[in-house]
Each structure stands twice: as structure tokens, then as C-alpha cells.
């Protein structure tokens, strides 16, 4: 399970909704594989990851989670994206 580090009070209004929005489940293997692929870049290569799936299967959420994870562990990873919602701070936003 992947989640942002947010305080959680079960009875606090909005806490459950926020948690629901941010939690990703069942994608642990995929996230690890993507992070391993990113390590190839750190070793001096260009690397590609293709993420495919049906509508609503969590492609954008997965990318968002991975980018947030990489940004938190490697502060020197600026990001440009075609989808502004993907990009954690600090950002180099696109015009979309």
C-alpha cells in the first residue's frame, strides 16, 4: 500500500475522503519495478517506462505516487509533465 504521510483521525470530517483519494493499493510490485528502472538513469542511461491500462485503472495515480516517492527520496529530481496534477513540488509545470 502507498499513501501520502497525512495525519489521520477517523472521525475528523474529510479525513476518510482524503485518505481514499491518496491511498494506492495492489500496485506494490509495479512501483518497485518503476523505481528500479529509474535506478538505471542514476547509473547513466536513458530509460523508458510504459504504463498501460483501462480507464480508471490507476495509471495517473500510479505515476503520481511514483513521482512523489522519487521526489521525496531524491530532492534533485525536477519534473516536467503533460498533466500538472502529476507533479509534486518543486515543479516545472507544463502549460496544460
Amino acid at each position: 500500500m502507498v499513501e501520502r504521510k497525512q495525519p489521520f483521525d477517523a472521525d475528523k470530517p474529510g479525513s476518510v475522503e482524503l485518505r481514499l483519494q491518496e491511498i494506492i493499493v495492489g500496485r506494490e510490485k509495479e512501483i518497485e519495478a518503476i523505481k528500479m528502472q529509474f535506478d538505471a538513469v542514476l547509473e547513466g542511461n536513458t530509460a523508458f517506462t510504459l504504463i498501460a491500462g483501462d480507464v480508471g485503472c490507476g495509471k495517473t495515480a500510479l505515476v503520481k505516487a511514483v513521482l512523489a516517492d522519487l521526489a521525496s527520496s531524491r530532492p534533485l529530481a525536477p519534473m516536467v509533465s503533460s498533466n500538472r496534477s502529476l507533479v509534486p513540488s518543486p515543479i516545472l509545470p507544463s502549460r496544460k
Binding site: G26, E30, I34, T49, V55, G56, L70, P78
Partner: protein, 203 residues
């Protein structure tokens, strides 16, 4: 800018004309609204112009990837990429370029049209050993984990809600979250000291 007084506008036009010279056509191609500022420049060789634009973008990415290393570029909804966007993506994927970047391309593959389009685009790239991630629907166990985590283990009748949501959404994460949000908004799931689902909602 176009609403500025004429005198000022003419001054800007002159500056743009001097600075951009024949590359003004590059700007008007990307932003047609600038035609009234830059003018309709004659493009003598459109192919050359496209190559210049791609080269300029390659140069930009090369410098950015060096200065901002490690650079990650994520492109979402690749199935909707137009030709111009695809040429830009292709230009940064050139294996001969001396940059180290991580490119994530996400796309829908739920229709034959999307699959064919993206596959034909990807065939034009030299992706090397690309990682391909095919996202499937969530398993029942994953949905159970979601419910447990979202409600911090404080949800009564978890199994009943699990079966209801799984049956209705078939494990699609978006539909699942939308359904839970709807239940929360309509008090189908509520908090009388502990999270619980309305009986009518479960039956």
C-alpha cells in the same frame, strides 16, 4: 497584448520582427494567435522548419537533463498525442543524444483504436529495454486492504461492503473510489462512533 494601444503594439511588433526574424513562423505555428503580431511569414521549407523546432527542443532537453539531473519526464494520456507532440517525444528519445533522462509514458489500451495508435507510435522509438507495466483491475484482497486502510480498520461489516463494492466496480480503482465517495456523501457509510454502512445500502 493585442488589446494594447496601437502605438505600443507597433513597437512590440517591430521588436518581435527584429528578434525572431524568420523564426517567427515557429511561434505562429505553435500559437496562431500571434499571427496578428508577427505576421504571416512565408514558410519556404516547412520540413526544414519542423527539423529546426525539433532540434531546438532536443537542445533544450539536453541542457535541462544535464543541469537538472536526474530529469524525469512523464507524459500522460499518450493515446491522445497529436503528430506534433509525438515528434517532440520522438526527438527526446533519440538514443544518440547525450542525455540521461527517465521518460514515463502512460496510455489507455482499452480500445483497439488506442492500442493500434500507441503501438504504431512506439514502434518508431528506440526504447531499449523499456519497462512495460500493464495495470489490471484490483484483486479482492487489494480492495479489502483499501477498505481497511481508508477506514483505519474501524469499519463494521467490512466483508459485506467489500463484496458490494467489488461486485459493482469489478475492482476498477476509479469506480471503487467514486462509489465509496458517493456512499460517504449520501451517508450510506457514516460515523456513529465507528464507521458503519447503512443496512439498506448493503442489502
Amino acid at each position: 497584448m493585442l488589446t494594447l494601444p496601437n502605438q505600443k503594439l507597433q513597437r512590440i511588433k517591430a521588436k518581435l520582427s527584429k528578434a525572431l526574424t524568420r523564426d517567427g513562423a515557429l511561434v505562429t505555428e505553435i500559437a496562431p494567435q500571434t499571427l496578428s503580431l508577427i505576421g504571416n511569414q512565408h514558410i519556404s521549407d516547412y520540413q526544414k522548419l519542423k527539423v529546426r523546432l525539433e532540434k531546438a527542443f532536443q537542445l533544450f532537453i539536453t541542457i535541462a537533463a544535464t543541469e537538472l539531473y536526474p530529469l524525469i519526464i512523464a507524459v500522460d494520456d499518450l493515446q491522445w498525442a497529436d503528430n506534433a507532440s509525438w515528434r517532440i517525444i520522438s526527438s527526446i528519445a533519440d538514443p544518440l543524444l547525450p542525455h540521461n533522462i527517465y521518460v514515463i509514458l502512460a496510455y489507455r489500451n482499452n480500445t483497439v483504436g488506442y492500442r493500434n495508435k500507441v503501438n504504431s507510435l512506439l514502434q518508431t522509438l528506440d526504447l531499449g529495454r523499456a519497462l512495460t507495466v500493464n495495470l489490471e483491475r484490483l484483486t479482492l484482497d487489494a480492495v479489502r486492504t483499501l477498505l481497511t486502510e481508508v477506514f483505519a480498520g474501524q469499519l463494521q461489516d467490512t466483508d459485506k461492503l467489500l463484496w458490494l463494492t467489488y461486485r459493482k466496480t469489478a475492482g476498477n480503482p476509479l469506480y471503487l473510489k467514486q462509489m465509496l465517495n458517493l456512499l460517504l456523501q449520501n451517508r450510506g457509510i457514516y460515523y456513529p462512533g465507528q464507521w458503519a454502512a447503512e443496512r439498506n445500502c448493503l442489502s
